[in-house]
């Protein structure tokens, strides 16, 4: 063989040998640099076909496999292919017999070559260098397992048609200048350039796109065996990414203050848990958790925003000024506060210290979402028919989104557990108004309470 990847030469020679009826065990194939020729004792002249020899037949399937198998690095490949071609003359459908050992071996060679070609398309990494004319030139170093370099040139020409590039390999090199493809002999790794600033960017990308919550090292190794790693800039990160994964995942979980604990199943357990809770920063202020109060099987649950200064001192919900507004309104419309379970969306008092005074601060969306955990536990135990949310924060705690009170008051919103949510203003909002505006809002507030009262009665029937 003149070249290790010269399929056309093999094909012509094999055809002549078959026509001359030279059996496979009479032929030795050798490629440049191999020791095979040492054992060749016969002639190296190709015999001429026997007179009247039949046309050499080969199935389509064989031809496509043989083209690939011929560039495999197995020194026996040409002999195996010849044996196959020889046997095909007697049985033209032999290739269909998947259980035949020779068929399997050739199929495996074909597969290995296709895989090698695929890995070349995937794992060639160009580095940018500049040539004398200061044009960008991209150079890669790759180590294929088989004689595929020449065969795969087309892929790179089609993809990088307007770039100047070279692919250096120990089996020969390719060079493209935007117009013509040139080949040159084998190269060494030292011939290829080192480093490219883009590799830092690429490594950052590689490290960031990896999800440490899902380590599947086996799956990675199956597709990207270690032998390729040394020529891929990103691969050097793999050991540290794997080692750090566990830590990164637990950081991800901790960052959300998500602890794998079970939700308490009694009101007492909730009370104990919230006094120790610091899922959000409010819990770390100097304050006490304030538990909801009321019948544990109340049909109505009233939810405020968070305890205020007075509530924090007394440890009970709605006992400060806003509580008084609520009580007065309930009394006026004839709804007994004692039948309701009264609680808050956020269990701790959030404030800012100004001198001796603690100024109320509204909890932010994230704090409300975190504390919702406790509030939902309460709701699971009390199982109210109706939940009355006082104010936007309470509304958010129930719905997980920002709500507009003016748009959503006066009508029930269905909740997942089958209960109904009603939304109205927070009584402390009424406290901040004067005169006519206050009159109007108080009336709306009482009207909402009345609707809830009527709805409770209707649901009881």
């Amino acid at each position: 063989m003149p070249e290790p990847d010269d399929f056309a030469f093999w094909r012509d020679a094999a055809r002549q040998l078959v026509q001359a009826r030279i059996a496979p065990d009479q032929v030795a194939w050798s490629e440049p640099g191999s020791s095979g020729s040492l054992f060749a004792i016969g002639s190296t002249e190709l015999p001429s076909p026997l007179p009247g020899a039949a046309v050499v037949k080969a199935s389509k399937r064989f031809q496509s496999l043989a083209r690939n198998a011929a560039v495999h690095s197995d020194p026996e490949r040409f002999a195996l292919l010849y044996e196959m071609l020889w046997r095909l003359q007697g049985n033209s459908r032999l290739m269909e017999d998947k259980a035949d050992p020779l068929v399997r071996r050739i199929e495996e060679m074909d597969k290995a070559v296709r895989r090698d070609a695929h890995k070349m398309h995937a794992f060639v990494r160009f580095r940018k260098v500049s040539d004398e004319d200061a044009n960008d030139h991209y150079v890669a170093w790759f180590e294929p397992d088989h004689h595929i370099v020449r065969r795969e040139a087309g892929f790179f020409v089609r993809r990088f048609a307007n770039m100047h590039w070279s692919i250096l390999t120990p089996r020969g090199c390719l060079h493209w200048d935007g117009e013509t493809l040139r080949e040159s002999g084998p190269a060494q790794k030292a011939d290829a350039p080192q480093g490219d600033p883009a590799e830092d960017l690429w490594r950052s990308y590689y490290a960031s796109i990896f999800n440490p919550a899902r380590l599947k090292i086996g799956a990675m190794l199956k597709e990207m065996p270690r032998k390729y790693w040394k020529n891929m800039p990103e691969a050097e990160l793999i050991p540290q990414l794997i080692a750090g994964a566990q830590k990164r995942e637990s950081q991800m979980v901790d960052a959300g203050s998500m602890v794998a604990e079970d939700r308490p199943e009694s009101l007492e357990a909730i009370e104990r848990a919230i006094s120790a809770c610091s899922r959000c920063p409010i819990g770390d202020l100097d304050n006490k958790a304030v538990m909801g109060e009321g019948p544990p099987d109340a049909r109505l649950m009233i939810v405020g925003e968070q305890p205020g200064d007075v509530e924090d001192q007394q440890g009970r919900p709605f006992v400060g000024p806003a509580g008084q507004v609520l009580n007065a309104a309930l009394e006026k419309i004839g709804l007994d506060r004692e039948v309701a379970f009264v609680t808050n969306a956020v269990k701790h008092f959030k404030y800012q210290q100004r001198g001796k005074r603690r100024i109320h601060q509204s909890p932010n969306a994230k704090e409300i979402d975190l504390c919702r955990w406790w509030h939902e536990a309460e709701r699971e135990i009390v199982k109210p028919d109706i939940v009355l949310a006082l104010g936007a924060s309470a509304g958010r705690a129930m719905l997980g989104r920002t709500v507009s009170i003016s748009r959503q008051r006066g009508e029930p919103i269905a909740l997942d557990d089958g209960s109904e949510l009603w939304i109205t203003a927070h009584p402390s909002y009424l406290l901040r108004l004067d005169g006519e505006a206050r009159e109007k809002q108080v009336q709306l507030f009482e009207q909402d309470l009345r609707s809830v009262k009527e709805r409770l009665a209707a649901l009881a029937d």
């Binding site: 998947k98 048609a161 307007n162 883009a198 991800m252 960052a255 939902e376 920002t402």
Partner: protein
């Protein structure tokens, strides 16, 4: 706050995209850069240019244009109320980054998604502009996948289809109630409406190309979607049902499943534990059963257990076979293809090889063994010239005989 440099922005915006399951870059029109001014090719099959330690392939630069978001979806790390670090790329920066990586053969192209900034329309405009810069200014012929914003104007979404190889619109959650609860700013009807619009545009463009060779290509790689698994109470049966309706109604190329991962700043309404990755794997297997093995969605659902979930210890095909034992044994020398495809442990390739080989001779157990990974798994369900299972399919302990050892499962599921 000082301006972030490109590396820092890339870290933030790639990190934010890592929960996205899809990354495929295959199935689009063939193109190359010969005769053009730019760069790039697609040859039908996408190429995975690297693999991450999470086992997933990296074929595209998968990033967000920005992780700022005016929405507040609970399962999403970028939701408004989360306090993750935020960053924003310009369309030009993303285009440059894509070309920098592409020229070095790191990627097949770009998969661009974004948090909602200002409005759905504004965001969609930015996504489209990025693709336009690549296609028009740089004559880029590689792969582009754009995540479209269902809230955006249909005209903008249409432009996305003109530049992109594939578009996707995420359904996010398998049930409407789950969506209402966990993604309060999103609307199931709007999402499916956008998918429907995309489907008709794709069909129409295909039709036009049949008649006029120069008609513009429109999302030749089709549309796909993604569903988050394990963030709400939906069962595998719900999920499989939803997926098959989506395939039917919107002609989707793929439905991707993404096991809910713990995310920083997760809200309290989410489950505390992530679902086992094995669950996601079983769902993909059930997807294959429907796409390549002739299973009807109803049949996949039959393979689920009492709680509506697929078993985790065995694959769905085996689960189905154990429930319908009277469909076995299957005679490998006589049975039609459909029957062979039902045999646990026989893949489409093995079935093809059996069909080819048996034209030449009758197969023995040994022959089948050469074509399969594990003959032990296949044996109870088939007959060959020299083998017939003796009532093995009636054994009550068959499942435990065939299920992989528990420790292995744990390792794999970790």
């Amino acid at each position: 706050m000082p301006a972030l440099d490109t590396i820092q922005k890339l870290e933030i915006l790639a990190d934010a995209a890592k929960y996205d399951a899809s990354c495929a870059s295959s199935g689009t029109a063939k193109r190359n850069s010969k005769g053009g001014k730019g760069i790039g090719s697609t040859e039908g099959m996408g190429i995975c240019h690297a693999y991450a330690p999470d086992g997933r392939c990296i074929s595209l630069l998968k990033i967000l244009l920005t992780n700022h978001c005016i929405f507040d979806c609970h399962y999403c790390v970028n939701r408004k109320s989360s306090n993750v670090r935020r960053a924003r790329f310009t369309p030009q920066e993303v285009a440059d980054l894509t070309l920098t990586f592409y020229r070095r053969n790191y990627i097949e192209g770009l998969f661009l998604s974004s948090g909602i900034i200002k409005s759905g329309n504004h965001t969609m405009e930015m996504l489209v502009e990025t693709a336009r810069i690549l296609r028009e200014d740089h004559d880029f012929r590689g792969y582009i996948h754009l995540k479209t914003i269902p809230e955006a104007d249909p005209e903008l979404v249409h432009q996305a289809g003109l530049f992109a190889d594939r578009v996707s619109i995420n359904v996010e959650l398998p049930t409407d109630s789950g969506l209402t609860r966990l993604a309060p700013d999103k609307n199931a009807r709007q999402i499916e409406g956008a998918m429907g619009g995309m489907k008709s545009a794709i069909v129409q463009a295909k039709d036009e190309r049949k008649r006029f060779r120069n008609a513009p290509r429109f999302a030749p790689g089709g549309q796909s979607t993604q569903m988050i698994v394990g963030a709400d109470a939906a069962s595998d049966a719900d999920i499989v049902g939803k997926a098959s309706r989506l395939y039917d109604n919107f002609g989707l190329r793929r439905v991707y499943y993404s096991a809910f991962s713990p995310i920083p700043d997760a809200s309290a309404v989410l489950p505390l534990k992530r679902p086992p990755l094995m669950r996601e794997h079983r769902l993909y297997q059930s997807d294959w059963l429907m796409r390549f093995y002739g299973f009807a969605p109803r049949e996949v659902m039959q393979a689920t257990e009492a709680d509506g979930n697929l078993p985790l210890d065995i694959d769905p095909k085996l689960a189905w076979a154990l429930k319908f034992r009277d469909a076995f044994p299957v005679d490998v020398n006589r049975a039609p293809k459909e029957k062979l495809l039902r045999v646990p442990g026989l893949g489409t390739k093995a079935v093809g090889q059996i069909l080819a080989s048996r034209r030449h001779r009758s197969l023995r157990l040994d022959d089948v063994a050469k074509l399969t990974v594990s003959i032990a798994k296949v044996r109870p369900f088939i007959c060959t010239l020299d083998w017939r299972p003796t009532m093995l399919t009636d054994r009550t302990d068959l499942r435990s005989l065939l299920a992989p050892k528990q420790e292995q499962l744990e390792l794999f599921a970790a």
